[in-house]
């Protein structure tokens, strides 16, 4: 049954409702919204002077109206302890989305916690400690005391290697500059924790080392560049689903202006379908390459473009390194970096070889090269904007592949110029402000493998759910459960003991190979089931929060509602841990070490912002100034405050000087990375031994918000289980019908998914939803990573067997094509 709310009317926002700036906190695009709140005993009216929109609501509103909101944009929440009506609707004046709402952002209101409407009752309200065989609520003082006492037993001034930390590094959601600073100051300032990892990867590292090493920051353009360009070149990206309003509000206008579109993806996507509709098939080129062959394609394109002379000689001479090797290949650099000629020689690949490895025609590669680089008839430079994401970031040979793509942008002078840019599209927004992480080292430690191997004694987790999203997840969960259970059993055995006795029991279990797990999150996550202490955090809208989007646009999301129970901002929780560590260490006479934990006397998240972002970026940006900039904010880096406005930077490197690598000459480097097949250990063998490619990724409806959406009826109704798209002829061979449940298994684990027929899928090539609460794709991703510990989710092969007919919960679902067809 399709889920229907049976809502036939909504309260009208009164003219005097409070308004708050909101940037959607789910994906990197950061669409502008406005939150309206007003008392539950008041309502607006249909007359223009009676409602916030100022229009006559007794009439049907037209398409693209600013004066309509859906039931998903409404809720009743607490504000300053009182129930208020809440509407969060897209902001027409925000240049990012111009009033468009995505299927995710247009449900922000519905995904707030409400005692009245019952939404998001899964949100954590109180700190909890594992007691009497389950989690029991307690005070912050009690919970933080236990965390500090156990943690203090395993760390010392000169050795903090037994403390493992998993911490988000992103903006949006519950991230942002305030919270990355809070956790960063604790673990990289007060401490120098080496054993740490980020929310979506098993080490503390960049996802895009090579572009940075080449001098090119990965977010260098302005979204407007899509509207000004001649060619949009998309690699391993599906922006209609995962950067929806960037696609609809910027790429589509560019396509309608005549831009050609190249998409490199082993899979047909809705992005390609929409591009075909808008541009016409003659202006869209889908390079449906063999999984993992991107590097061969880019090196072939680079070679061909250079051979044709379609390079920007002046740009290469003025803005790139002149010479041979600037950075030699070594353990921290999986390819040498240096001058154009050196890289060209090293990357050389013929059309014949490239076409063969990639499984596409030479003609199509030539066509792509022409669309990217061939000067126009009048000799002028062709503008091309290049955007990539997880298809290559989580794909084969991360370092060289991204480097090879940036090579093309540099060779054609398409970085730092209008209608250009070579950028990642991004997942979360960004919002990183931390003390240096240099002590972590490069390559960074492979945290998941160390935990599996028995290392680590205390684990602090900040909004990470390895159980759902890590690789080699079968092994990780098995071992993590075993080690944390040792501590749970020890705690159970000392029920009723004093704090001192309990700490001794925990430490004894740790010394015997157990692991003490502290989980900071907004919900009780899957890895949180293994926790001994759970600390409830607030998220965007329940605190003031700053982040920047995929074009470096920084905004302040204003707090518009209370957090659940006694939940706190992560930065304040980090401060609480620091203060408790200081107290406990001093109590133990470790005064010198205790002194390191001073400096957290923040009263609010704004203090954390001033201590972190403000103090470290030229002391220009404040909450008041950001608030005044509204939902259009300011593009980082912020360089000035003039005439009452923050002054930002429209695009990076317009002066032709490249700085991301920190080189004094400010010259960009080329990447000399030759093709070398599937790079990560175990991948080629898996490909040779299992039938189906299990490509994987996200879907429009629940991308970046599944942690909340598992409790959202509209979403759970659409996809109760993760889908696996399979070609109908493969389905027939296995006797599969739409909705059947299959087990997907290989040498490292197994998982399950719901069969979704997909005629455009190539035979033996499937696509499974990643990150599902009810079917972890990472169970079947092996432990093999690219150099610098970059996980390689995309190249996964497995076999499939049917385990169940379609369960009742999926029998009424639509199993039709995702593709829009013009009638």
């Amino acid at each position: 049954m399709a889920y229907k709310r049976n809502v036939d009317r909504l309260p009208i926002i009164p003219a005097d409702a409070k308004q708050h700036n909101v940037t959607c906190h789910y994906c990197i695009v950061g669409c502008g919204y406005k939150a309206y709140t007003w008392p539950v005993n008041k309502q607006g009216g249909t007359a223009p002077d009676q409602n916030a929109m100022g229009v006559d609501l007794s009439k049907q509103q037209p398409a693209d109206s600013d004066a309509w909101y859906s039931p998903s944009m409404y809720n009743v929440v607490k504000q300053d302890g009182r129930d208020v009506n809440l509407v969060i609707k897209p902001d027409k004046d925000c240049v990012v989305n111009s009033g468009l709402g995505s299927v995710r952002g247009a449900r922000i209101a519905e995904n707030r916690r409400s005692d009245k409407t019952g939404t998001q009752q899964q949100r954590l309200e109180e700190p909890m400690i594992w007691r009497y065989g389950t989690w029991q609520p307690t005070s912050w003082a009690d919970a933080l005391d236990l965390v500090a006492r156990v943690t203090a037993r395993v760390i010392d001034k000169d050795n903090e290697n037994d403390l493992f930390v998993s911490m988000f590094d992103h903006g949006g959601s519950a991230g942002g500059y305030e919270n990355t600073w809070g956790t960063g100051k604790l673990y990289f300032g007060s401490m120098k924790v080496k054993h740490c990892r980020i929310h979506n990867r098993p080490a503390y590292n960049s996802e895009v080392h090579s572009t940075r090493d080449m001098g090119v920051d990965e977010l260098n353009y302005n979204y407007e560049d899509y509207e000004l360009t001649d060619t949009i070149f998309l690699i391993g990206a599906n922006p209609l689903e995962t950067q929806t309003n960037l696609f609809l509000n910027h790429m589509i206008p560019g396509i309608r202006n005549g831009a050609k579109v190249i998409v490199v993806d082993p899979r047909h996507t809705v992005t390609i379908n929409a591009a075909n509709i808008e541009a016409g098939k003659d202006n869209v080129l889908h390079l449906q390459i063999n999984s993992g062959s991107d590097l061969a394609l880019f090196n072939t394109l680079f070679t061909y473009i250079a051979d044709q002379g379609w390079v920007d000689k002046e740009f290469i001479a003025n803005s790139t390194f002149q010479g041979d090797v600037a950075q030699a290949l070594d353990e921290g650099h999986p390819a040498a970096l240096g001058g154009f000629d050196m890289a060209r020689a090293e990357c050389k690949m013929s059309l014949t070889d490239g076409a063969k490895i990639c499984g596409v025609s030479e003609e199509d590669i030539k066509k792509a090269a022409e669309w990217i680089a061939k000067p126009k008839d009048d000799g002028s430079r062709r503008k091309c904007v290049t955007a990539y994401e997880k298809g290559i970031i989580w794909g084969n040979d991360n370092y060289r592949t991204i480097g090879a793509l940036v090579n093309i942008g540099l060779a054609t002078g398409n970085i730092g110029r209008e209608g250009g840019g070579v950028c990642r599209l991004g997942g979360h927004q960004e919002g990183y402000m931390r003390p240096s992480d240099a002590h972590v080292g490069r390559p960074a430690p492979y945290i998941d493998q160390l935990l599996i191997a028995g290392q680590g004694k205390v684990h602090h987790i900040w909004a990470n759910d390895h159980y759902k999203t890590t690789l080699n997840a079968s092994a990780f969960k098995r071992e993590y459960n075993r080690r944390t259970n040792m501590v749970k059993e020890a705690m159970d055995a000392r029920a009723g003991a004093t704090r001192e006795e309990l700490v001794e029991a925990i430490v004894a279990a740790i010394e015997a190979g157990g692991l003490f797990s502290v989980n900071v999150d907004i919900i009780h996550s899957q890895i949180g089931q293994a926790a001994h202490v759970i600390l409830p955090a607030v998220e965007s809208g329940e605190m003031n929060l700053t982040s920047m989007n995929g074009e470096r646009r920084m905004r302040l999301v204003e707090k518009y509602m209370d957090g659940p129970g006694s939940a706190q901002p992560d930065c304040m929780i980090a401060a609480g841990i620091a203060q408790n560590l200081e107290r406990v260490l001093r109590e133990q006479g470790r005064n010198e070490y205790a002194d390191q934990f001073k400096g957290y006397d923040w009263k609010s998240e704004e203090d954390a912002f001033m201590d972190g972002y403000h103090a470290n970026t030229g002391k220009i940006v404040t909450y008041d100034r950001l608030r005044d900039m509204g939902n259009n904010g300011v593009q980082e880096p912020v360089v000035d405050f003039k005439d009452g406005k923050l002054v930002g930077t429209k695009r990076l490197y317009e002066d032709g000087k490249f700085t991301r690598h920190g080189r004094e000459d400010k010259k960009a480097l080329f990447c000399a990375g030759a093709w070398r097949g599937l790079q990560a250990p175990g991948k080629a063998a898996q490909r040779d031994n299992y039938r189906f490619l299990v490509n994987n990724g996200r879907s429009n409806i629940n991308w970046q918000n599944w942690f909340l959406d598992k409790n959202n009826d509209f979403v759970a109704d659409r996809f109760p289980y993760p889908f696996i798209q399979i070609n109908p002829s493969d389905m027939a061979e296995f006797g599969l019908n739409p909705g059947d449940l299959v087990e997907i298994y290989n040498d490292v684990g197994a998982t399950q998914a719901m069969v979704y027929p997909e005629p455009t899928a190539r035979k033996n090539e499937t696509f499974m939803l990643f990150g599902a609460p009810s079917g972890t794709q990472g169970n079947i991703v092996n432990a093999g990573v690219n150099e610098l510990i970059l996980p390689n989710y995309k190249q996964t092969w497995a076999n499939i067997r049917k385990i169940s007919d379609a369960p009742a919960s999926v029998r009424g679902l639509s199993f039709k094509s995702f593709d829009y067809v013009a009638s």
């Binding site: 036939d8 037209p62 009638s823």
Partner: protein
């Protein structure tokens, strides 16, 4: 027949860009909504009962444009040829949906091959055989479907809608 001009205009713009909007540009038949006087402070809005068509007016898999609950709310009746969710009539295969996309109010077009309502604005697809479930798209609602009743004479009446219609904060204005 009074239609919402801007909706139709958006449809024309989409048509010029290549998206054809069949249902919204056909003349409306069968609309006969009475003026309904809402009862004071009801928990639900009072929907008018409106005769939309007779079962004989419907041809298999051909959309019949109608409007409900008033002339500014275009919709469609469909005879799908198999019993489906919310279906009425002798075969349980007659359904009715709004043709205004619940995302941004663009006029939907019926695709007879897939039996889906498709939005030329932002590529959303709604499955008429699955209660209007959004197969893929940007809307945060499945497609509002009419609660239908067929009487002894084969007259098809609409008596309610199961989701909020785009462009109105009360389904009955």
């Amino acid at each position: 027949m009074k239609r919402c001009d801007k909706l139709v205009e958006v449809g024309r713009r989409q048509f010029l860009r290549g998206g054809i909007v069949a249902a919204a540009s056909l003349p409306v038949v069968g609309f006969a909504a009475q003026e309904a006087k809402a009862a004071t402070n009801g928990a639900l809005v009072d929907y008018p009962t409106a005769r939309l068509a007779n079962v004989k007016d419907l041809k298999p898999n051909e959309p019949l444009p109608i409007a409900y609950p008033d002339a500014d709310a275009p919709g469609v009746l469909l005879k799908l040829g198999k019993a489906v969710e919310g279906g009425v009539g002798p075969e349980g295969d007659i359904v009715g949906f709004t043709t205004v996309c619940p995302h941004k109010g663009f006029p939907l077009a019926y695709n007879a091959e897939s039996k889906t309502m498709n939005c030329p604005g932002h590529y959303s697809v709604f499955d008429c055989e699955a209660g209007g479930q959004q197969t893929w798209g940007q809307a945060t609602q499945n497609l509002p479907q009419y609660m239908l009743r067929v009487d002894d004479k084969g007259d098809i009446y609409a008596e309610g809608v199961d989701e909020l219609l785009y462009g109105r904060l009360s389904n009955v204005l």
